[in-house]
């Protein structure tokens, strides 16, 4: 179970297909390295990852904010690309880390959305990608409770939880993205999941299985 919709997978397939034709570069690190000599090549990284980061940002802050978060993520990455660790083949953790930093700067906006959902059952963030004519987006009671729990997390815990759940990151990728030890990732994720479980009505908040990593890594 990856948590990705068929549309997502189709999109991935299209992008993979595009890549077959567009470059000799096998991994992101090669692109970043080459972009130091030919800066415009960095656009290829945008083509690979911008859609996913946009969707991630939209889920956290709303559809409108996602445009700026995505653009600023890549502009920032481009400007600091000289310090990208090219031993990492994928730039995803690096890019999501920058995006998380930018999203974190809009913490109040994110919390407003989550708390509105928790309080009213209406999700203003989901409404941002649903036509107004479709009326308000209402959530199940469990989602409202979940939103309240996510809002109550610390910023660091929330980053970890949502990178695992929404970006399908492994523990190591989360550690790379947030520049924290993998042990910290585990402890943050366990704490976040415990609070979420409690909010969802589980009467044994100490029972936390390590299924997230298992699901992420098969």
């Amino acid at each position: 179970m990856t948590g990705r919709s068929p549309d997502d997978q189709e999109h991935d397939h299209e992008r993979d297909h595009d890549h077959d034709h567009e470059c000799d570069y096998q991994d992101d690190a090669a692109i970043v390295g080459q972009s130091l000599e030919s800066p415009e090549i960095f656009a290829l990284l945008y083509d690979r990852h911008a859609a996913d980061i946009h969707r991630y940002a939209a889920r956290r802050l709303g559809d409108g904010a996602a445009d700026d978060i995505t653009a600023d993520t890549f502009l920032t990455a481009f400007r600091v690309r000289a310090r990208f660790d090219t031993t990492h083949h994928s730039a995803r953790p690096w890019l999501y880390g920058i995006a998380a930093n930018l999203i974190g700067k809009q913490r109040r906006k994110e919390l407003r959305g989550l708390r509105a959902l928790a309080r009213t059952g209406r999700d203003p963030v989901a409404e941002s990608w649903v036509e107004r004519s479709d009326s308000r987006v209402t959530a199940q009671a469990s989602q409202a409770a979940l939103a309240g729990a996510v809002a109550a997390l610390s910023g660091g815990d929330r980053h970890v939880l949502l990178l695992v759940a929404w970006a399908d990151f492994s523990y190591q990728e989360v550690a790379d993205a947030l520049s924290i030890p993998i042990g910290t990732v585990r402890s943050r994720l366990n704490r976040a999941r415990r609070k979420v479980r409690t909010a969802l009505g589980d009467n044994d908040p100490t029972r936390v299985t390590d299924v997230a990593e298992a699901m992420t890594h098969g």
């Binding site: 960095f42 083509d47 409108g64 653009a71 400007r79 600091v80 990608w129 979940l146």
Partner: protein, 354 residues
């Protein structure tokens, strides 16, 4: 269902954006990559980009060339005496009213909803250039093998680094569905111009509502806002409505503080610059809209330094210092950024050239 799955299901309906939606961000990145990005750092330009319709970003600077081909601008030879020549430009208001007369009786184009606007533009950014507003024409550009086909990028040898072309859907559906302020398709802008009232004050009210003022963190005075918004409507619309453009010119003529001057643009051609200093923070600059004297049509934008200055890459969004970048210096009066259209036309298909 475990709690992680509950989290995964939360807001799982968020859509993946398509390429058109992502195009403005890609364009900003390429602008940064190929020109140093000074444009995006100039005060107010960020909101300028936001005004561009999704997929129509290049229209900010490239649209008016479409106008050249679509509207015609009357008989250039007959109009030479109106705005061209060696005489001083005259007052900005006079220039704008004359330009309004030149374009106001042009026939109204009738683009189809399924058409595309092809634009090719040239740009200059002082951060990535050693010489001010170079006049050397380098028309040969090539596709970068790695990039998306619709974007031209410089050759590996770095020449030229000043051109790009793009195809913009005339009736961009994403832009027209967008609920975000200031995202409009070319068709929406065309219709807005077509429906403008006659009274300049009423026009100003409508234009200010169409392109709202900058947010508080990037303040602008009411006159700066009016000059920016009116100028964008003049320069940006991919297919100008001639009578609407004339109304915009006449309203621009009422804005205090505007000046007119004769300049040579990035392509080496004569242009009339309608300018107004902006009072924002560094780098201080003068924003100008460039009109072609022979047609009265807008062909681009220019930002000029209003004081000596310099720029060194600083900290960025994640709080980390930038990579090594030399300091760029400029003198008062130097061109900081300029974008001029080279070619533009309506075409029937994406990636079709005129």
């Amino acid at each position: 269902m475990d709690e992680t799955q509950f989290v995964r299901d939360l807001r799982a309906g968020a859509p993946l954006p398509d390429r058109t939606r992502l195009a403005p961000g890609r364009r900003r990145l390429l602008d940064e990559a190929t020109s140093g990005g000074l444009m995006s750092r100039l005060r107010g330009l960020r909101s300028d980009w936001r005004t561009a319709a999704v997929g129509a970003v290049a229209a900010m600077t490239a649209a008016a060339l479409s106008a050249t081909l679509l509207v015609g601008g009357g008989d250039p030879a007959a109009e030479e005496s109106l705005l061209s020549g060696r005489a001083p430009a005259g007052s900005a208001a006079e220039v704008l009213r004359t330009a309004a007369l030149m374009v106001g009786d042009d026939p109204v184009p009738a683009p189809r909803a399924d058409q595309w606007i092809y634009v090719r533009e040239r740009y200059y950014d002082v951060v990535r250039e050693e010489k001010p507003a170079g006049l050397v024409a380098q028309p040969d550009v090539n596709y970068h093998p790695l990039g998306e086909k619709k974007y031209l990028v410089p050759k590996p040898d770095g020449i030229p680094r000043d051109q790009a072309e793009e195809w913009i859907p005339y009736a961009d559906q994403d832009a027209e569905r967008s609920r975000t302020d200031q995202k409009y398709s070319a068709r929406e802008i065309f219709r807005f111009l077509a429906d403008l009232p006659d009274d300049p004050k009423a026009i100003l009210d409508e234009v200010r509502a169409f392109y709202p003022a900058n947010p508080p963190e990037n303040p602008e005075t009411p006159d700066e806002h009016a000059f920016r918004a009116l100028g964008l409507l003049a320069v940006q619309q991919p297919v100008p409505h001639p009578q609407g453009l004339a109304k915009i010119y006449r309203t621009l003529a009422t804005i205090p503080g505007i000046r007119a001057s004769r300049v040579v643009d990035l392509t080496g051609r004569e242009a009339l610059a309608i300018s107004r200093a902006e009072s924002g923070g560094p780098p201080g600059h003068v924003r100008a809209y460039l009109l072609r004297p022979s047609t009265g049509l807008p062909v681009g934008q220019r930002w000029t330094a209003d004081a000596d200055g310099s720029y060194t890459e600083g900290e960025y969004g994640d709080g980390t210092p930038a990579a090594d970048t030399p300091t760029t210096t400029w003198k008062k009066g130097d061109v900081l950024v300029e974008r001029v259209r080279l070619e533009g036309a309506l075409v029937d298909k994406d990636h079709e050239r005129p």
